[in-house]
């Protein structure tokens, strides 16, 4: 690192000194390389297990009362989320955060807004035990599933024996790993077809990179792989109309480390266009508003109507056809 640093200094200073201008920043930090990658499906997904997982995903026996299933919050028709500001669990329990999309979750560094669960398996366990989600336990769940010959048969077909905690978890995880939004117009654009997306979307993509959105929303999932503070440049919580809530503490809630206050997992944007409302508090209703809020609080910029429209067009081009 030191060697690298020394090598960069003359470059930085020559450019700054010669032009008084500052594009040196970008040459120093290698931003000219493409930060967004085509998303590819997870390999080794067994279709039989994934199909079983999908059945479990829609099974209301996951809740003691039989009133909610995974799919009630993670609805494929709603971009893998629920369209509500905050989630609803069993018995009408009201959640404290907005439901993140279930799509491309396998690409996440950790799960949930604050990385409460490190892996998909942990997330399944966490949701099962959380009284605001399912509020049950594995024994009760397996009891309920055990008597069902159809489920039993599917398990035997996939795993050679009936449902157990290990096989049920594996089936659900396999299904989740299969939920990858491949084949978007933008991926075709990245693949070399410039007409795959509209002119607006292309302009939006350029803005998205130039304005620094892509500093956090990068990689195959345009985020998900990084934690960042909400309100880097301006205090989001001070300006918000409603009172601070415990969920606003962010990852601090997990780590107890003051540096993690307001730190959240950067959400992936592949399904952003279809998963309003936005942010952990679900306080922003439209994609356009969300873009402006991000620009102001994270980047210190104010976008005009055209710019917002272009970035929104870009984000819509990320949705699979």
């Amino acid at each position: 690192m030191a060697v690298q640093g020394v090598a960069l200094v003359p470059l930085v200073f020559v450019v700054v000194a010669a032009t008084g201008c500052c594009l040196a920043a970008s040459s120093a930090i290698a931003m000219d390389r493409i930060p967004i990658r085509t998303i590819s499906p997870a390999d080794d997904v067994s279709p039989v297990k994934a199909d079983l997982g999908r059945r479990l995903f829609t099974d209301r026996r996951f809740s003691d009362a039989g009133d909610v299933a995974c799919v009630d919050c993670h609805d494929p028709m709603q971009g893998g989320a629920d369209g509500r500001p905050t989630f609803r669990g069993t018995g009408g329990a009201v959640g404290d955060v907005n439901t993140p999309t279930v799509y491309n979750a396998a690409y996440n560094l950790a799960q949930g807004w604050i990385g409460r669960a490190e892996t998909l398996r942990d997330q399944i366990d966490d949701h099962l035990a959380d009284p605001r989600v399912f509020g049950t336990d594995w024994d009760a769940l397996l009891d309920r599933l055990g008597g069902d010959p159809a489920i039993d048969g599917a398990f035997v077909a996939a795993y050679g024996n009936g449902p157990t905690r290990a096989t049920a978890t594996d089936a659900l995880e396999t299904y989740l790993r299969s939920l990858v939004t491949t084949g978007s117009p933008f991926d075709r654009f990245l693949g070399g077809d410039p007409t795959a997306i509209s002119e607006d979307a292309r302009a939006g993509y350029a803005l998205f990179r130039a304005y620094g959105c892509a500093a956090c929303h990068q990689g195959a999932n345009l985020g998900g792989n990084l934690y960042q503070v909400l309100g880097v440049i301006r205090d989001y919580f001070a300006d918000r109309s409603h009172d601070p809530a415990p969920a606003d503490l962010g990852r601090y809630d997990m780590t107890g480390d003051a540096r993690d206050r307001h730190l959240f997992r950067v959400p992936g944007l592949r399904r952003a266009a279809s998963t309003a409302p936005y942010f952990h508090d679900g306080s922003i209703a439209t994609l356009e508003e969300a873009i402006q809020v991000m620009a102001v609080y994270q980047l210190g910029r104010h976008l005009d109507g055209d710019q917002i429209r272009q970035i929104a067009a870009f984000l819509r081009s990320l949705e699979p056809d």
Binding site: M1, Q4, G5, V6, L8, V9, V12, F13, V16, G20, C21, C22, L23, A24, A25, S26, A28, I29, A30, M31, R33, I34, P35, I36, R37, Y107, N108, L109, E118, T119, A210, Y211, G212, A214, A215, C216, Q218, G219, A220, N221, G224, N225, L226, Y227, Q228, V229, V232, I233, R234, R259, L263, Q298, L299, G300, R301
Partner: protein, 968 residues
């Protein structure tokens, strides 16, 4: 009888031999079996090593802003999580690992976990910085275009500093400059929202960089490298020990098997010769041989197969049953080769076959056969006395694998970035790795058989080594730092883990030490200590170090009954050097000042820089104050010489305050405070001196400080009042006016004398509001008195230099006061002091001229007491001159004084100045002055200064008397 008995005995012998044979081969198999599950452990350690290296690389790239996305990071984190799970499973006690390996692995998992979390933060901070740098890069130009040139320049240099800080993150200097630029920009006036956002971004990069540095340091300090090498070495040493034993045991057992087979064959031969039971005997022999786990074959002197057991066919499965009796050994090998039984490339096959055949002819020979199906066979040939050969084939696949693994492990040890030394149980070195050679300069040949004490530096005590030795010989591991010496004599710091390695019987077979060279870290620690305790500019101890030393020295003095002096030395007027010559010159001066003070001090004294232009000397073990006085005088003496800094030399004077333990305080911070207050007393009383702390003087200072703080609100609280002393026409004894005098009565301080508070008020700028108040009231009173009596003509008011500074707007103030009160300008005289003319003539002259032009009289107060520069009298047109009370006081029969006052009055008249004499207290003085034709006077002889209502009464009474006299 023997004929009958012999076969029975022989058969019993065969049976016994067969049992021995079976036992020996079973033992061989057991040796082959690897009970440690070592391959799994070393494989996972290898994986850990690779992932750890990958993580290091990725984090280095992240913190160097080389990543445009973090997907690789997520993937690596997922692999690390799996690894952590696998490691935990490996460390479970059901695997036959020893306890230290388990705890080592547990520690490794925790370390990897910690690194992973640090890495996550590194990614967060890096992305923050990249984002803000990007903003700065694109917005600075645009924003700078809308600014003035100075601000624009500041903004550009801010960006340069920001980048520099990111590129050279170690530069504390750059960080300071950056913070300074942000502050200056913020201070440089109203900033547009654009600039504000820009500064916000700069601030963000600055803070995130600090956080990133901390996180990187934390990441790098997680010692996974050492831990991994430690684990690998532990594992390797255990293996080494085991493999050596295994090799020995195996050779012995193989010899035993060979001997047993020979013995069995011999017995059978004897049986066959003596009895016609050959066929039966052969059957029995086959049966015995078939129970063996090894393949056994007997060849006649022509090397044709006579006898074999079933295992031979199984071992040579590619030719199997084609191994028939009578087949020549050479054909058998060729047949096997053609059938593709050996894992030997086709082109090398003929040579291989020749070699095997040649080697197999020799008695007591062994040859390894790598088989195509992955097995390794070892063939041992033994020649019997009659020329027949017995050949035994063992499956040594597992042994081979262990050997290969050992090679990998030793590679890990060989290539380890830390030093690894393995000794025998007596502490003699058996092995050292190349890194050890690199660090110490000793090669393996030079150290084998020697004791590690040759590396001792003498800096670690014998007791330390003994403690270590006791620990490891009792079977526990020892961790600690060594201060060792390399072959070239250089001293190095090593962090070491020394641990015993046990063999299978539980005896300590080896000791291994894993050492990391931490010389650089120790130096870094020393540097950090220095940075924390020393001032980087002068290289002197800083305040914190001074306080610490003071603390220690006080404790010492407490026992010895001696004294400790703390001397605080402050440069007088250092600010002007900085302003006039620049900060670089100021810094150079501070360095030289530090050196000069240090040269004056004794060796035992501690000279420190407390900060800014403030230094301190701690003098320990003093008998009395005299020594401190001596040093203060020595220092002041040395400071009469100017300092040679770039440009003309600079003269510096010092203010020194001294406090002594235990007289002036028992605690460092109290001594510090008291020395400080003594120093400030020097500052207040003319600087360039030293003073000891004194409780009495301190109480005066405290009073002054109290006066100062009360004075601040005195005008607002209405505590400032005006008293008036009449001005008397000395010829007629009538009141012609008054001098307004300022008085201050405070509820807690009582009456404060003007000579106490006026200088303070001037010093603190409070004289301006006070002066304004007096002007307003005096003009109002004077206007009223002029209306009330005909004799009262004018009012004199004292004006301080601060009031006349251009920015105070004094002429306008006077004009307003005159307008508001209706007092004519000619009725007002402003008194200024002589010193004002000297100190600040240029600044005040404009205000005075404007006042003069308005028709206001200007008088010189206290004439004759100061420099009496007559030149000023000519340069400015004054209206009056006041002769100071000190001349009047001495106005007795002393002829010299009489002449002096007389000539002053004459001078004033010559310059067309009115003369006012003050401080007239006796009738005699009055007579003299009348004789000198002085017109106007004031003093206690006539009246003391009076509050305004009393003055009104006095005035009316005098007027009534005068009227009465007229009437009378």
């Amino acid at each position: 009888m023997p004929n009958v008995r012999t076969p029975l005995l022989a058969q019993a012998a065969v049976a016994l031999l067969a049992i021995g044979l079976v036992a020996a081969t079973a033992a061989l198999n057991w040796i082959d079996d690897d009970p440690r599950g070592g391959d799994a452990t070393s494989a996972i350690l290898d994986r850990a090593r690779h992932l750890d290296t990958e993580l290091n690389t990725l984090v280095a790239r992240t913190s160097g802003f080389q990543l445009v996305h973090y997907d690789g990071f997520t993937a690596l984190v997922q692999r690390l999580r799996r690894l952590e799970g696998d490691l935990r499973r490996t460390a479970r006690p059901d695997h036959r690992t020893d306890g230290t390996l388990e705890s080592g692995i547990e520690h490794l998992v925790e370390s990897l976990d910690a690194k992973r979390r640090h890495a996550e933060r590194v990614a967060t901070y890096s992305s923050t910085i990249v984002n803000s740098l990007r903003y700065l890069g694109t917005a600075t130009d645009r924003v700078a275009a809308g600014l003035g040139p100075d601000q624009a320049r500041l903004l550009t240099s801010l960006l340069t500093s920001t980048l520099r800080l990111q590129v050279l993150p170690d530069e504390a200097d750059a960080a300071r400059r950056l913070a300074d630029r942000v502050r200056r920009l913020r201070a440089s006036g109203n900033l547009s929202a654009d600039v504000d956002v820009l500064l916000q971004h700069a601030d963000v990069t600055f803070k995130a960089r600090r956080a990133l540095n901390i996180e990187m340091a934390a990441f790098e300090s997680v010692g996974t490298t050492t831990l991994l090498s430690d684990l690998a070495a532990r594992h390797a040493a255990a293996y080494l020990s085991r493999a050596r034993k295994l090799g020995q045991d195996k050779l012995i057992l193989m010899a035993v098997v060979g001997l047993l087979v020979l013995a069995i064959l011999g017995t059978f031969q004897r049986l066959r010769r003596r009895h016609a039971q050959a066929a039966q005997a052969r059957q029995s022999l086959r049966a015995v041989l078939d129970t063996m786990p090894a393949a056994v074959a007997l060849f006649d002197s022509d090397d044709r197969l006579m006898l074999r057991n079933d295992k031979l066919a199984a071992f040579c499965n590619t030719i199997g049953e084609r191994i028939a009796q009578g087949i020549h050994f050479d054909s058998m090998i060729r047949l096997a080769a053609e059938s593709g039984a050996f894992a030997v490339p086709r082109e090398e096959l003929p040579r291989f076959v020749d070699k095997v055949i040649a080697l197999s002819r020799e008695a007591d020979s062994e040859v390894h056969l790598p088989m195509a199906d992955g097995r390794h066979l070892l063939k041992r040939s033994d020649r019997m006395d009659d020329g027949r050969m017995i050949r035994v084939l063992f499956d040594v696949t597992r042994t081979k694998r262990i050997e290969a693994e050992l090679r990998t492990l030793s590679q890990a040890v060989e290539q380890s970035p830390v030093s690894i030394v393995i000794t025998d149980a007596d502490g003699h070195i058996e092995y050292c790795n190349p890194h050890f050679t690199e660090v110490t300069g000793y090669t393996l040949d030079e150290v084998v058989g020697r004791n590690p004490r040759i590396f001792r530096s003498g800096f670690s005590s014998n007791a330390d080594y003994e403690r270590m030795w006791r620990t490891i010989t009792s079977g526990r591991e020892w961790r600690g730092d060594f201060h060792n010496r390399t072959k070239s004599g250089a001293l190095i710091w090593e962090k070491a883990v020394v641990a015993p390695v046990r063999d299978d019987s539980g005896r300590i077979a080896h000791f291994m030490s894993v050492r990391e060279d931490i010389t650089a870290r120790k130096q870094q620690e020393a540097l950090l200590y220095r940075q924390a305790k020393y001032d980087p500019l002068t290289d002197l101890p800083n305040r914190s170090m001074a306080l610490e030393s003071l603390h220690a020295l006080i404790a010492l003095a407490h026992r010895s009954g001696r004294r400790v002096a703390l001397m605080i030395i402050d440069l007088d007027d250092f600010k002007t050097v900085n302003e006039a010559r620049g900060h670089a010159a100021g810094d150079a001066l501070l360095q030289q000042v530090g050196k000069r003070i240090a040269r004056c001090a004794r060796d035992s004294d501690l000279v420190a820089r407390l900060g800014g232009d403030e230094f301190a000397v701690v003098l320990p073990e003093l008998e009395g104050r005299q020594e401190a006085r001596g040093l203060a005088e020595r220092i002041m003496g040395r400071f009469t010489e100017p300092f040679a800094i770039d440009g003309p030399g600079v003269s510096v004077t010092l203010s020194i305050g001294i406090a002594v333990y235990p007289d002036d305080g028992g605690e460092p911070h109290i001594l510090m405070r008291n020395a400080d207050s003594a120093m400030y007393r020097v500052k207040d009383t003319g600087r360039n001196n030293y003073a000891f702390f004194s409780e009495k003087l301190e109480s005066i200072r405290r009073y002054r400080r109290e006066v100062e703080s009360e004075l601040a609100g005195a005008v607002e609280r209405g505590e400032i009042r005006v008293h008036y002393q009449p001005l008397i026409d000395l010829a007629t004894d009538s009141v012609i006016g008054a001098e307004a005098l300022c008085r201050w009565t405070n509820p807690s301080l009582g009456e404060v004398p003007p000579d106490t508070f006026i200088p303070l008020a001037e010093d603190r700028g409070l004289i301006v509001p006070i002066g304004r108040e007096i002007l307003r009231r005096a003009c109002a009173d004077a206007a009223r008195w002029r209306r009330q009596t005909s004799g009262f003509r004018h009012i004199s008011i004292n004006v301080s230099p601060r009031q006349l500074e251009a920015k105070a707007g004094f002429p306008e103030l006077v004009k307003r006061a005159l307008d508001e009160t209706g007092l004519p300008a000619g009725a007002l005289t402003l008194e200024i002091t002589e010193s004002l003319l000297i100190d600040n003539f240029a600044g005040s002259v404009e205000s005075l001229s404007r006042l003069r032009d308005m028709g206001v009289g200007i008088a010189i107060d206290d004439f004759g007491t100061g420099y009496s520069s007559f030149a000023y009298l000519k340069r400015f047109k004054f209206s009056a001159l006041k002769i100071d009370r000190s001349f009047v006081r001495d106005l007795t029969d002393n002829q010299d004084n009489l002449t002096l006052v007389h000539s002053l009055i004459n001078l004033a008249r010559a310059l067309d100045l009115q003369v006012v004499t003050e401080g007239i207290e006796t009738e005699k003085q009055r007579r003299h002055l009348v004789r000198f034709e002085a017109r106007i006077g004031q003093g206690f002889l006539f009246c003391r200064p009076l509050p305004n209502h009393e003055f009104t009464a006095y005035l009316l009474e005098r007027a009534a008397v005068a009227e009465g006299q007229c009437l009378g």
